[in-house]
């Protein structure tokens, strides 16, 4: 009797899920969503996915972000590498971000946050000049707002370099650190500017500050190690490079400089190990790049040569 009841229950649960998915697919989300939310777990992967997709779509249609996140979370837990689920997650979060931006613009149209958001959008679109103007407007309006001078510096550095690039960026980064002395990123960029100009003591000082402010900042440890190495302090360079390698073992640059530091310190075995790690990390980085390019652009094919 019991197995029969269980089978009947499973059948009715399955039928209910099917009905809810059907309702959702026909735009009747208000009726579908409560059923989908409380649906008993289904074993069949395809049905699981259909429930998830229907739930996410309905939640987004009814503007219920927490429900959308709930269904998405279930799907990502069940199939964390499923391309369809990753694609859906990319879209849902992008849509939710757009909605938050629209809400910001509607509820606080004159706020500094709206200008900052606009500046970021212009920056992403490559319209650096207008982005810079927007950032400067925010800085003029709220001179003590953390993060703005850092973004201005970043923008200056991403434009074609001229004589004033480094001094202008340095001025903005120093202004940022006056407002927010805990900005490890600003210290790091100042370190990089100094390193590129071979000002080793300044570079070391900024990188050291960045690593103290953020103990997980792998690139800052690499920068510190490289600068110490370049200034002839080989032994001191080893510890930060080892930390950087632990924090981010996939960065070939760190292994490269660690190998040099070990060679100079006469630690041949360690140097060989780092060289091997450098080669492996470089190959992995190249492979990832190739995979992405191949995925996006497709494989190389033989094509007829056009006449000259």
């Amino acid at each position: 009797m019991r197995p029969l009841l269980l089978a009947l229950f499973a059948l009715s649960a399955q039928a209910q899920v099917e009905r809810a998915v059907d309702l959702a697919e026909h735009g009747r989300c208000k009726e579908a969503l409560p059923i989908l939310r409380n649906a008993a777990p289904v074993k069949d992967k395809e049905t699981q996915q259909r429930v998830g997709v229907a739930g996410v779509r309905c939640a987004m249609t009814l503007n219920l972000p927490s429900d959308a996140a709930f269904f998405l979370d279930k799907m990502l837990r069940a199939s964390p590498h499923d391309p369809a689920v990753l694609y859906l997650a990319t879209h849902v979060y992008s849509d939710l971000s757009t909605r938050a931006s629209q809400e910001l613009m509607m509820t606080n149209p004159g706020s500094a946050e709206v200008h900052q958001l606009n500046a970021e959008a212009l920056e992403t679109g490559g319209d650096w000049q207008h982005a810079l103007e927007e950032y400067r407007a925010v800085a003029a309006r709220e001179p003590n707002r953390a993060g703005i001078h850092f973004r201005i510096a970043r923008l200056i550095l991403s434009q074609p370099k001229g004589d004033s690039t480094f001094p202008d960026a340095t001025r903005e980064l120093e202004a940022e650190l006056k407002i927010d002395p805990n900005n490890a990123g600003a210290e790091y960029v100042l370190g990089e500017i100094a390193r590129q100009q071979e000002q080793w003591p300044a570079a070391i000082s900024h990188f050291e500050k960045a690593t103290k402010l953020d103990v997980g900042f792998a690139d800052a440890f690499t920068g510190l190690g490289r600068s110490l190495l370049s200034s002839g302090r080989n032994d001191d360079a080893i510890a930060p490079l080892e930390t950087a390698a632990k924090l981010n073992p996939d960065n070939p640059t760190t292994h490269y400089y660690a190998a040099i530091a070990f060679t100079r310190a006469g630690r041949k075995a360690d140097s060989e190990r780092e060289t091997k790690l450098f080669n492996e990390a470089s190959a992995r980085a190249q492979q990832t790049k190739n995979d992405v390019q191949l995925g996006i652009l497709g494989p190389q094919r033989v094509e007829p040569i056009k006449p000259q």
Binding site: A69, P83, Y87, Y93, A100, A184, D214
Partner: protein, 313 residues
């Protein structure tokens, strides 16, 4: 043992006296307790804001929902979100995001932070897709959408076609290619390919209401009334809340000289999209043509009011 009224009174008094002293003690200690809590919260916030998220996050997680002071609450929740994102703990990030959007729904700082965090999450999942399954149809579609957004139509079309080649029967792929070809600046072949792809989509997925809608709209623009009505009718049968499809159907009837038939779908569109001035304008026209003057005037007023509130650009 007998219990006299007197002893009961005494014990009641002593109980209330005990309560009183407890209360006094509590009132004395309350500021101390509150200030200790405030100090703990401030300490955790300081940890989070000095890049010690690994230590701060577990404490912020425990505090979630237990901080009374609104200023500290907002700061703690914002730091929780930032730390969750920086430690790649999506569960934490989402929990703090929900809390922030519940507690500080229209706060500009919160909305700005939310928009950034959500956009970051989207980018992370996109990158994971491109790096873990670069040859999947989803990766091609994602890359096509990126190219489409940049106006690189031909490259985007090539990407959509690659996705279709990999999985020709997957719902949505023909639709995306078709919609893009119809939206892009026209070439000699784009419109024909666009319509062909939408029709192909309907063979793969007969429940794609948007494909029916776009085909209906194109037929309406070409004055092919019967085709247009068929497509719009199918769209509203698939999606009973598709306001624009009801509007399209109503407009088709109106333009083809059937104002009586137009009223029903237009009334339905007005119920679904009461803030769309175009719906009220069409409805006013339909009522006007069948002699329902009062209804027509009411709809014109509704249209004008909506346009005053949101002037057309």
């Amino acid at each position: 043992m007998m219990c006299s009224w007197e002893s009961l009174d005494r014990s009641a008094w002593s109980l209330s006296s005990h309560n009183r002293s407890m209360r006094t003690l509590l009132f004395t200690l309350l500021p101390v307790l509150l200030s200790a809590q405030t100090e703990t919260i401030q300490g955790t916030i300081h940890l989070a804001e000095t890049n010690h998220c690994d230590q701060a996050l577990p404490q912020l997680r425990r505090m979630l929902g237990h901080v009374a002071d609104p200023h500290l609450k907002k700061q703690a929740e914002m730091d929780g979100l930032t730390c969750g994102m920086s430690l790649n703990s999506v569960d934490d990030a989402l929990a703090f995001l929900m809390a922030l959007n519940y507690d500080f729904k229209t706060d500009p700082e919160v909305l700005y932070l939310s928009a950034g965090a959500l956009s970051d999450l989207s980018a992370r999942y996109g990158q994971t897709l491109l790096s873990t399954a670069p040859n999947s149809p989803d990766a091609h579609v994602l890359s096509a959408e990126g190219l489409e957004a940049q106006g690189k139509w031909d490259e985007a079309a090539a990407e959509y076609r690659r996705a279709i080649q990999l999985n020709p029967n997957r719902p949505g792929l023909h639709f995306r290619l078709g919609r893009m070809q119809l939206n892009r600046p026209a070439t000699a072949t784009s419109a024909a390919e666009g319509e062909r792809e939408l029709q192909q989509e309907l063979r793969v997925d007969p429940n794609n209401a948007e494909a029916e809608f776009i085909l209906g709209d194109r037929a309406r623009e070409a004055h092919q009334w019967q085709d247009a009505a068929q497509h719009f009718n199918r769209a509203v049968q698939i999606d009973a809340n598709f306001g624009d499809a009801f509007l399209g159907l109503g407009m088709t009837y109106l333009q083809s000289g059937r104002p009586q038939d137009a009223t029903l779908p237009l009334e339905r569109a007005a119920r679904i999209e009461p803030n769309n001035p175009a719906v009220h304008a069409q409805l006013a026209q339909a009522y006007g043509q069948i002699g329902r003057t009062a209804d027509a005037q009411r709809e014109t007023q509704a249209q004008q009011q909506l346009e005053r509130q949101n002037p057309p650009h």
